[in-house]
Symmetry: C2
């Protein structure tokens, strides 16, 4: 095994461009103090336009689909061939970093630009996709963009509302999309060769292993819930403890217990959003609304953890005279990456000098999970600093970005060779 | 001791009017689903106008002061006499009941209307005040209205902002007030005889004792804080537990511990407002902001409880690598009601048939606490159902409202007799 110290000069120059592009997209934010770009927002429209410009510059034909995803297409040896899709997402969590999803999109565009002069040798078309919703920040329902493409859209989603009360239907219409045309965003399996996604690891394992890149074996499937603890709002001073049904105390017990339950089962459980109502400084909270995200390497572990959390919360809340409700808003089955496509990813990384790349499963969800419903998927992870993600401190190195770019291009070329040889 | 079954017919008719007026004010709300009327809002202006109409109808001269409080004045035997002030507040917590504060204002207006024909016998003027901010819902700083009247306004308050970022200075100007004129709202002690406030109990003690009315001996002084638990926002899936600094878990431990610490000391501690940031469903919370309200019968008990909470929170958060910050936003010393004025309240309740009224301390804060800085204060509590307050279910009976009205009028007449006799 040999691990390269650094990519070549041309690649370093390209990596510099990719980092500049990440910076340029980071400036498109709903917040002056950080990065926030949610589904179907004005910022979504702007980054789609910016990405479309880069795609056209790279020689690709571009379009925005009925779900608000931005696409580009480079024809292969002949027009109309099935496409290998490269991509990731451009939406963000609140106060986000600048590489989660973004790096995968800008790298895919760069790979397409490198392949464009050699399209006559390609046994497939190469498409780039920038999904409009992976995080689920605005509507609580993740992977809206990729699920539209996979044709696994659920009609019930149209009535889900954001924090301001705007439904997905209203937001789509305001964005200029036609909800009735959502099925047009779905791609047919026969038109696709596969889907390759480069993404930052969002965890500390590659850094700990001293490797720039890694191969993803599977993606853990998250379940997400909207939870409520229901008590009674009363005067904070006048109400003796015997008469209090404080929803926040019940919710606090549940939040504190999550860590123990998760460690016991080997899963991960997170309450990322929590708010007490009515929110008066001198009012005992009568209602707490919160989000719950549960994941594990195996779906059975995850479901066991969900069941334990629910049982604990029900019992704890009942003992305090509180109601407890948990409504599932999202459930993604764990997804295994395609063995054949993954061989090309391994070959791609090997081409950069690491011929025995680290294999790891993804604790985070990715668009690839949704796309797997219609075509083989594979993923390539790029090391990030201290595993930090979903935070402004998200960081990658120029060298790692360059190696990721070279590896992704080499993976596509490897796949092209295999497909051509198999003809 | 004899406790009357019910007030007379005339009083019952008046009590019906008072309840109707509470209903009329309840309809002035910023929320379609409940009652919410905060300081310097359009709803504040509207209820001031409604109250001014009732005051003029009762024969009082009216004005709105430089802090947005609504006043009415009935001259006594001769013009310009010092005034006995009757009143309470018209602002509300979010999703409020319809009697907290409001009942005291409408009852004061009715008492003034009853006294108007007899003003020639009054050795003092009678004024009615409807304070514009007691709850502190909008700016987190309570008693803004009564502290302006007491002349204990702090200049630092002008820059305090509401949730939308609007400062108190901006809100005052938008309301049509001149911040530079705030000192004009302050009343001089020599112009006042005292302050009498009728209020619902907001606790279950009168109901448990089977009494409609009670005499308040003292008012517990609350301390309020804006708290922050500071961790690190990271990806909910990718971050192993060893690397998490989850601010919500730390805050949850503090919230859960409050009850134990409060019961140990005999005080009351409430977190009424709590929010996790950045608030992404798949992001470990990096920051939690919350409010903390601490009170007790004696200030020393309260301060001991604050110290224990702070020590526990610092230790618990430090053990998780979390920062903990607590900033005091409000501190009211406990206030003892004036013995002389309270004798008149006892006499007033006795006049309704209960000649040995229940004496109790107020666990809730009241405008009387602020007004006590410039004139003697006393308070009369009206029983409310199940002690519920700061909740839409807040309820009083027609009979109790009538008895409260009669008692407040009788208290004023008793004080007038004493003052006339002392001349």
């Amino acid at each position: 095994m040999s691990v390269p110290a650094a990519p070549g000069d041309a690649t370093r120059a390209a990596a510099e461009r990719l980092l500049r592009r990440c910076d340029e997209l980071a400036a498109v934010s709903a917040s002056p103090d950080g990065i926030e770009r949610v589904h179907l927002s004005a910022e979504h429209a702007r980054v789609n336009a910016v990405a479309a410009g880069w795609l056209r510059e790279a020689g690709l034909a571009t379009w925005q689909d009925a779900a608000g995803n931005q696409w580009g297409r480079l024809e292969g040896a002949e027009p109309g061939l099935p496409a290998l899709v490269l991509g990731s997402h451009l939406d963000t969590v609140p106060d986000a970093g600048r590489y989660d999803g973004i790096l995968g999109v800008v790298t895919a565009i760069e790979v397409a630009a490198r392949l464009a002069p050699h399209r006559a040798q390609l046994p497939f078309a190469v498409e780039v996709v920038a999904f409009g919703d992976e995080e689920g920040t605005r509507f609580g329902t993740a992977l809206l963009g990729s699920r539209a493409v996979a044709g696994t859209w659920l009609d019930g989603w149209w009535d889900v509302a954001d924090a301001a009360g705007t439904t997905l239907r209203e937001a789509s219409t305001a964005f200029g999309l036609d909800p009735a045309a959502i099925a047009d965003a779905a791609r047919r399996p026969e038109d696709l060769v596969g889907y390759l996604e480069l993404h930052i690891e969002q965890g500390p394992h590659l850094e700990a292993a001293g490797r720039a890149l890694g191969v993803v074996t599977s993606i853990a499937g998250a379940r997400r819930f909207a939870g409520r603890v229901v008590g009674e709002a009363r005067h904070a001073g006048g109400t003796p403890y015997a008469k209090r049904r404080d929803a926040l105390v019940g919710a606090g017990q549940v939040v504190v217990a999550l860590e123990r339950l998760a460690v016991e089962t080997g899963g991960i459980a997170t309450v990322g959003r929590l708010q007490a109502h009515p929110g008066g400084v001198n009012v005992v909270p009568g209602l707490v609304e919160f989000s719950l995200d549960v994941r594990a390497e195996h779906d059975a572990t995850r479901d066991d953890l969900v069941a334990r959390i629910e049982a604990y919360a029900r019992e704890t809340c009942a003992a305090r005279g509180l109601g407890f409700e948990l409504q599932e808003t999202h459930r993604a089955p764990g997804v295994y990456c395609d063995a054949g496509l993954t061989e090309s990813v391994v070959a791609g990384i090997a081409a950069t000098g690491d011929d025995d790349p680290v294999q790891l499963f993804s604790r985070a969800g990715h668009d690839a999970m949704a796309v797997a419903a219609i075509t083989p998927v594979a993923m390539l992870f790029v090391r990030c600093e201290d595993g930090i993600s979903h935070h402004p401190a998200e960081a990658v190195t120029l060298d790692d970005v360059g190696l990721g770019l070279d590896a992704l291009e080499a993976a596509v070329r490897d796949l092209a060779r295999r497909r051509s040889a198999a003809r």
